[in-house]
């Protein structure tokens, strides 16, 4: 699009959606109460792995207010929750797909697995009755540890007797072996990418209503993608006609991936709503969220980097075991494969890369995408091993990165991606300035004078997002399309309502998308509203994740606006008695080229709906266009980060003193919103590096099951960030030239933090620090180094 005439594109306009949120007028799922509302409470397994011998519900049935109780038996005829991505193992066999029942049938496979649903007049009554249900369990041994799950004698699913879901690989193993054979240096590192719990502050919730009058269902649900939710639920689980189910994702309080998936609870509610004949609401208690929201990360990896004598990368070999949890969540299988291994080139021209991934089942909550999804794990592999290689070779880590940067585009990596554009030197150069790297040694000395160890760490990341070209995704196993849909409805007065298949749960689509449309149509920002999150309003949608909303959803809207303008030109040509090709659309006016004859956008809209003087023989009335946009490639945001950390060796406390980020997101529509995404990504990235670590004990009990044990970053845990968005290299293949910014920073930041800590402790002989680098763990690392 033409950015030169723009005033709204690239402007930090305040958000249109804010008024309702800051006044408490937002409508989140739990805020919605329906006439005749009833409430559900789930009975959940206290055991990680057990056979259900019997369930005694008589006392609960007799409890006051109880409307219905359903157990696995009632759901036996219903499909399991499907997985949306088929991964094929190295031996050509498809991944193992055990049934993921809505309510456990005879075996529970993780603490929190659903055993029964109790529906009552009030939530208190539902809970009280749930407490009366007695489940007789035959407790089985639990498989918990990622690294050893495949060797565990206990099988979680009969279809996967060795607990292996798949063993998948990418790259040329022989070429990688050959490169290692002639390497001057090989750097090796084994580590864990710590398991995280997403913890959007709004817990998951659902409210399902059955209308007997037209045999239809309405589901209000905390979802990032209501159409996909409906498709999966109707076609694969409940066998309902898709057009008879309306799914509404109203205001959603953060997702970070965890609200992409089709969960058991909402399926159970929809199914039960017809049987109970009343709307049923369920809102997760935070304790339930900890146990049942899909978790993120959880990789065990060994990586090896081969370098020549000049520090040029020759090859990278990576072996990863990824934890799927007890069942395959909606996109679980593609995270440690398609979204992980394909990112292992990073910003570097490594000629050969081979990665093998073994995915295992364990008796833990399902693991799926969490902000970044696979890409943070890949970036961590790469940026840690590059840093370690620099240290071993005594080459400045910045210099080593520079020597290996990809500098010509397009660039085809050895792991299936083709980067369209980028300028890694530019973001690196800039971040070194804004981080004041020159002043580091003076600051290090000042820290040392206080008995503190200061270190500096770098990370240069790339992300593949704007997910995704449907044909490529399909070839890689996706069972869904990954385009996006948009509709631009021009009203007779020239006001505009836009319907998008993207969903905003904090990203600010109602503002950013409106900026794009208002700019293109030359109308005011207040003349455009963005509607999202309702299958009854929006024609279709694939949803918001994978930093795809503006790059894919925005592009669909641009296409639809283009169609509106094209039709408007025809209407204007008629009104102005000119040829179609003589009309131009500039600043909200249709003009006859080279004359002062013109029609305002609103006049043309009015003519379209009151077609008295209108080419009805050639053109339909009305001005309403929709479009589907399927990207031709991924987008590739990239950037460079510098972290400075101070370690107190007597306590292990790490304080991040400075964090500087420079990102290339291509074109930027609203810099304020983009900067907010950077801040949030940094908080989650630093959270992973320093604080957050999901822990199960050997019985499969979740040790970090509340905010009092799972350390969420709070305001005073974080520094002031110095962030800058580079002028950037616009994406070459979407109309806005945008790349996406939602996940980037959570992807790039963790290794910068750990690299800084390792740098600080290098003098003690420390080579690696595991995430999360809590005070206790850092202290242990220091003690171990001393021994």
């Amino acid at each position: 699009m033409n950015a030169s005439r723009t005033s709204l594109i690239g402007r930090s306009v305040e958000r249109k959606e804010d008024y309702r949120f800051i006044t408490g007028a937002g409508q989140y799922t739990d805020d919605i109460s329906l006439p005749q509302q009833s409430y559900a409470c789930f009975v959940r397994s206290p055991h990680a792995h057990a056979r259900i011998r019997a369930i005694e519900t008589a006392a609960a049935h007799a409890a006051p207010g109880v409307l219905a109780i359903f157990t696995g038996k009632d759901f036996a005829a219903i499909g399991g929750l499907p997985c949306g991505w088929l991964i094929t193992s190295m031996d050509g066999t498809p991944m193992k797909e055990p049934k993921h029942p809505v309510i456990a049938e005879d075996v529970v496979r993780h603490v929190g697995d659903q055993v029964a649903i109790v529906i009552a007049d009030s939530l208190a009554e539902a809970k009280a009755a749930a407490a009366l249900i007695e489940v007789d369990y035959d407790v089985l041994p639990a498989v918990v540890d990622t690294a050893t799950a495949a060797r565990n004698a206990t099988a979680i699913h009969s279809v996967a007797p060795d607990n292996i879901c798949y063993t998948w690989a990418i790259g040329d193993a022989a070429a990688v072996d050959a490169a290692f054979a002639k390497a001057a240096h090989v750097t090796r590192l084994s580590f864990i990418n710590n398991r995280l719990i997403p913890n959007a502050i709004e817990p998951r919730a659902a409210n399902a209503l059955y209308a007997r009058g037209d045999d239809s269902y309405t589901l209000y649900v905390t979802s990032q993608n209501p159409h996909v939710e409906r498709l999966l639920m109707t076609a694969f689980v409940l066998g309902l006609p898709e057009h008879k189910v309306r799914v509404v994702a109203p205001d959603v309080g953060g997702g970070f991936g965890s609200k992409i998936y089709l969960y058991a609870e909402e399926c159970a509610l929809v199914w039960a709503s017809k049987r109970v004949g009343r709307p049923i609401k369920w809102t997760a208690e935070r304790s339930e969220s900890f146990l049942t929201d899909a978790h993120g990360r959880d990789h065990v990896t060994t990586a090896e980097l081969a370098l020549d004598k000049d520090g040029k990368f020759l090859a990278l070999r990576v072996d990863t075991t990824a934890n799927m949890g007890a069942y395959l969540s909606t996109f679980a299988s593609c995270i440690p494969t398609i979204l992980y291994a394909t990112l292992l080139a990073g910003q570097y021209a490594t000629p050969q890369i081979y990665c093998r991934v073994q995915a295992v089942f364990t008796n833990t909550a399902p693991v799926d995408a969490y902000r970044g999804a696979g890409r943070p794990e890949a970036t961590y592999v790469l940026e840690r091993i590059v840093e370690l290689a620099a240290r071993e070779l005594k080459i400045d880590p910045v210099e080593l990165r520079r020597r290996n940067f990809i500098r010509t585009f397009p660039y085809a990596t050895p792991v299936a991606l083709t980067y369209d554009t980028g300028d890694y030197e530019a973001t690196l150069k800039r971040v070194l300035e804004i981080a004041d790297v020159k002043g580091f040694s003076a600051r290090k000395a000042a820290s040392a004078a206080k008995g503190l160890l200061r270190g500096i760490g770098y990370s240069c990341y790339i992300e593949a997002c704007g997910i995704a070209p449907s044909n490529i995704a399909g070839a890689l196993g996706a069972r869904a399309g990954l385009y996006e849909a948009g509709e631009v409805r021009v009203h007779p007065t020239g006001k505009v309502t836009v319907f998008t298949g993207s969903h905003s749960h904090g990203q600010g689509h109602e503002t950013t998308f409106a900026q794009v449309v208002a700019q293109m149509l030359g109308i005011g920002l207040d003349d455009v509203d963005i509607q999202h999150g309702d299958t009854a309003k929006v024609l279709f949608g694939v949803g918001t994740y994978g930093s795809r909303s503006l790059a894919v959803g925005g592009s669909a809207i641009v296409k639809a606006v283009d169609k509106v303008i094209a039709k408007g030109k025809k209407i204007a040509a008629h009104l102005l008695e000119a040829g179609d090709s003589d009309i131009e659309f500039v600043n909200g006016e249709f003009r006859v080229v080279g004359t002062d004859r013109k029609k305002a956008f609103a006049e043309v809209a009015f003519a379209a709906y009151v077609p008295h003087n209108y080419p009805l023989d050639k053109l339909e009335p009305g001005l309403n266009e929709n479009a589907f946009y399927d990207p031709t490639n991924f987008t590739f945001p990239a950037g460079s980060y510098v972290c400075e950390a101070e370690v107190d060796p007597s306590t292990g406390v790490v304080r991040i003193d400075r964090f500087a980020a420079c990102d290339d997101f291509g074109n930027v529509v609203n810099p304020m919103i983009v900067e907010g995404q950077v801040h949030g990504g940094l908080a989650q990235g630093i959270g992973q590096a320093l604080r957050e670590g999901c822990a199960y004990n050997s019985d499969g009990q979740l040790v970090t099951g509340s905010f009092t044990d799972y350390a969420m970053p709070r305001a005073d845990d974080l520094p002031q960030f110095v962030v800058e968005t580079a002028r950037g290299t616009p994406c070459t293949h979407n109309p806005l030239g945008v790349k996406g910014c939602g996940e980037a920073v959570a992807i790039g930041s963790p290794p910068a933090v750990i690299n800084a800590i390792v740098d600080a402790l290098a003098g003690l002989g420390v080579r690696d620090v595991a995430m999360p680098a809590t005070p206790y763990r850092v202290w242990q690392t220091i003690q171990a180094a001393k021994r």
């Binding site: 306590t651 970090t704 009092t708």
Partner: protein, 265 residues
């Protein structure tokens, strides 16, 4: 429908009468620790006896030797009290660091002491200052008050009315946060009274306790370096995912040193 009853006595005597008549009743001070337990189903009292309607329990009074704080004084009230700030600034500092803003606006010193949470701050201050805990029936020295995990010397039916805290020459509290709950992983309260030094630790054991080795070293020389080389045994200290007993044991002299430095500051 809930059958829990609620009572709001106007005097301690009335509260005691209500409590005596119902063994499953619970005193409600600020409720900041108790209500989460009720919510999670760990506690199911049949009656709440709210002490908020007894004005004298909220009083803070000071003289040259001690400060007396009513059991229902909130952490915010203690932190903001001019008398406390002037006489025992370390106590104001303890109060201002408990929980968070919202907790400090509701939580009370009496509730905190009676709960004896192994990681709460006030027990360290009370023990470190050698406080006297006054109840409706007697006065208890802090040294004999904290008995174990969530366990005190309080008898059934006994109600804390006030705590009297002697004014030290110097004192300081250093708290090392458990990263998630932000309770004390280890907290050390140091107070000097003439030639006597008291070092009280919270977070590390079943309840707040004193560390004689550090007290002796500091009594000889109240200086940071006196803590160096003092080894605290890890035996019987708490161990969890946030820190082993050894880590906690290691932190005690490190934090004591910092507290001494701060007290001298």
């Amino acid at each position: 429908m809930s059958t829990v009853s609620y009572h709001r006595p106007a005097s301690v005597a009335e509260a005691a009468r209500l409590l005596a008549g119902n063994h499953d009743a619970r005193l409600l001070a600020g409720g900041q620790s108790m209500l989460p337990s009720v919510r999670l189903g760990l506690l199911a009292p049949t009656a709440f006896i709210d002490l908020a309607g007894i004005p004298e329990l909220q009083r803070i009074r000071a003289d040259a030797k001690a400060i007396s704080i009513g059991a229902m004084a909130t952490h915010a009230a203690v932190a903001e009290s001019r008398e406390v700030q002037a006489q025992i600034p370390a106590l104001a500092q303890v109060a201002s660091g408990i929980g968070d803003r919202q907790v400090r606006n509701r939580g009370t010193i009496g509730g905190s002491l009676a709960n004896s949470d192994p990681a709460s701050d006030y027990p360290a201050a009370a023990l470190g200052l050698g406080a006297t805990i006054h109840t409706n029936s007697r006065a208890l020295a802090a040294d004999e008050f904290f008995k174990g995990l969530f366990e005190t010397a309080l008898k059934p039916g006994e109600i804390i009315s006030a705590v009297s805290l002697p004014v030290p020459d110097r004192a300081a509290y250093v708290k090392f946060l458990q990263p998630a709950s932000r309770f004390a992983l280890v907290g050390v309260f140091v107070a000097q009274f003439g030639k006597t030094v008291r070092v009280a630790v919270t977070g590390a054991g079943a309840c707040a306790f004193r560390v004689k080795a550090l007290e002796d070293a500091l009594a000889k020389n109240f200086a940071p370096q006196s803590c160096d080389g003092v080894v605290v045994a890890a035996t019987r200290l708490n161990s969890d995912i946030h820190g082993s007993a050894e880590y906690r044991a290691h932190l005690i002299p490190v934090l004591t040193r910092r507290a001494v430095l701060q007290a001298l500051g």
